[in-house]
Symmetry: C2
Subunit: 342 residues, 2 copies
């Protein structure tokens, strides 16, 4: 496990006014969901279903896919580790910069690793590794490909499995999910999540969508009860009440676009355009760790030091848009910091 993941707010207890470091929606948990889960605590006196099969069925039904194509996991992290385990000792191409768990999971399961950057990946159509890992839309930079592009890659490379992390698919103005391509692509494995949009990352709830054959193999490696009772209850309640509970994502994406626009006017930094609620900022001067500390000390704002993403360096921070009032303070804070850098 690496140190320095995004959501390290627990390290700064009491100091943080606004958390730009986490890509989770900033509206918090819906009160109806919070109340429901509070009333459900008592179910934890029993073991959860060993494989959360009731939730698999519900999610499959919601998306119109076979229930045999869904495996519920303890966050997307367990999904990455299970896929890496299934292909233990194989070769992996990892598109970077990206979520560190693709690299960690495949290293732990002894894959040969090949790293390719965004630009080279977009030019490439043939792959000779057993797996290709990518985020779509990608964390940290929001890079994205449409579903037809993903399908085409699968067709062009029938001997390569494409492991596509769709954790942020609900937080993008570009519709890029390939969920409807899975039935047509035996070599497509999607990793998805309900926790980013519904602000429940602490419960740990993700799922895999893949062919029934792949799902069956993954289940044979999976430990029982990995998903806790409260997470299963949350997932079920969300699917049953999706439209009632889903936050105003369009508003959040507008906040992100506005913040990107404002930051582009700041001298000394570059903003990497992103259709998602989060995006990268590159500073021409100074170090990301110093900028992070400066913003905590002076404004109580937490940003993500993005220097430990492979392919990035200490020029980069990642920002997830918050409420307008905090966004303005962040712009001011970054401006101030730039003036202190010689």
């Amino acid at each position: 496990m690496i140190n320095g993941h995004g959501n390290d707010i627990h390290l700064y207890e009491g100091q943080i006014v606004a958390d730009f470091s986490s890509n989770v929606v900033p509206y918090g948990m819906h009160p109806l969901l919070a109340n429901f889960l509070s009333s459900q605590i008592i179910i934890a006196r029993n073991y959860p279903e060993p494989d959360a099969v009731s939730l698999s069925k519900k999610i499959a039904n919601f998306y119109g896919i076979p229930k045999e194509s869904v495996v519920i996991t303890n966050g997307s992290a367990e999904a990455f580790y299970l896929v890496a385990h299934l292909f233990s000792g194989c070769s992996s191409t990892i598109v970077v910069p990206s979520f560190a768990e693709y690299e960690d999971a495949s290293r732990i399961h002894k894959h040969t690793q090949l790293f390719i950057d965004n630009v080279d990946f977009a030019k490439k159509s043939n792959f000779d590794t057993n797996l290709v890992w990518l985020g779509n839309p990608n964390n940290p930079d929001g890079r994205h490909f449409d579903a037809d592009y993903i399908e085409n890659l699968c067709k062009l490379n029938p001997n390569t499995y494409f492991v596509v992390d769709e954790a942020y698919t609900g937080l993008s103005s570009e519709d890029c999910s390939a969920i409807n391509k899975v039935s047509n692509c035996e070599n497509l494995i999607l990793i998805r999540s309900l926790t980013k949009v519904f602000a429940i990352p602490g419960l740990r709830l993700g799922y895999i969508v893949a062919s029934p054959t792949i799902c069956e193999k993954i289940k044979s490696l999976k430990m029982p009860w990995s998903v806790n009772s409260i997470a299963i209850a949350a997932g079920s309640f969300i699917i049953d009440n999706y439209n009632l509970l889903v936050p105003n994502i369009e508003e959040l994406l507008q906040l992100s676009r506005n913040l990107q626009r404002q930051l582009k006017t700041v001298e000394g930094i570059d903003v990497i355009d992103s259709p998602t609620n989060y995006f990268l900022v590159k500073s021409h001067k100074g170090k990301s760790s110093d900028l992070k500390s400066f913003l905590i000390s002076n404004y109580g704002l937490l940003v993500r030091d993005a220097s430990n993403f492979r392919g990035l360096n200490s020029s980069y921070i990642r920002i997830a848009a918050q409420q307008e009032s905090y966004n303005s303070i962040l712009v001011e804070g970054i401006k101030q910091w730039i003036t202190t850098q010689s």
Copy 2:
């Protein structure tokens, strides 16, 4: 993952009056704990600590052991899978009958497996496999060894790691925990749990106690955030309020002894003596699956069909003592069933 684990009450929704199939204490979650957790749901809007380090420290402090000797896990299941992964491809002796996850985890991680029954294990002092897995006290039969016996095995077999499942150590009239031997035995790995005594198996919370060297290696294989925020909060609250929250275990063990005594008077079955709240019953006639169905249909009582424990067969059920009134009905139900068997 096997099918037919103990707590399958979710399969019989609405039919069950008393659940003798689960070894978890029958008193339910303490109201103070339930209220506290209900009030804490909102913390799930943030990611948990990646490695639950605050809880490791608290548990280490509670037991007077170094914090580097504790790894918090997603139930004891994750602990077994991590240990099996660390010793991937090695050889394992598994003492049976026992919890199926020792076998599943070591098979999934490609161990060579050797099974040895209780009686032979108790006679044996030298082992030539890399690992020996045992429950102490054991599930399903309550067999137990004292801490000195475990320490002695470790000393006699310096090249073998002893993986001792202490999930039920708090539910036995015999004090058999070897937690104070870990500092003296580099080859002792304990798997422990708070969920059985405090009735929170649905939250998934276990921990490993082992040498700092072993713990460090295990952490290097562990996925981040495997333990959810609510489980961490529960563990922390329990340790802070242990004496207030701990149920009356002596009363429960007395119920178990009484039930064992009553069942011994029933013709046609044998009771395997156990110092724990659960024990095995062997029927001279009929099949355990039929007895289980009979007790559900006629009395709403759920027992554990123990036929899928390696080393047992369809003569065995496992029973965990409940309240006196239910225990009497169970005795009556088993008597009735025996009369129907020719």
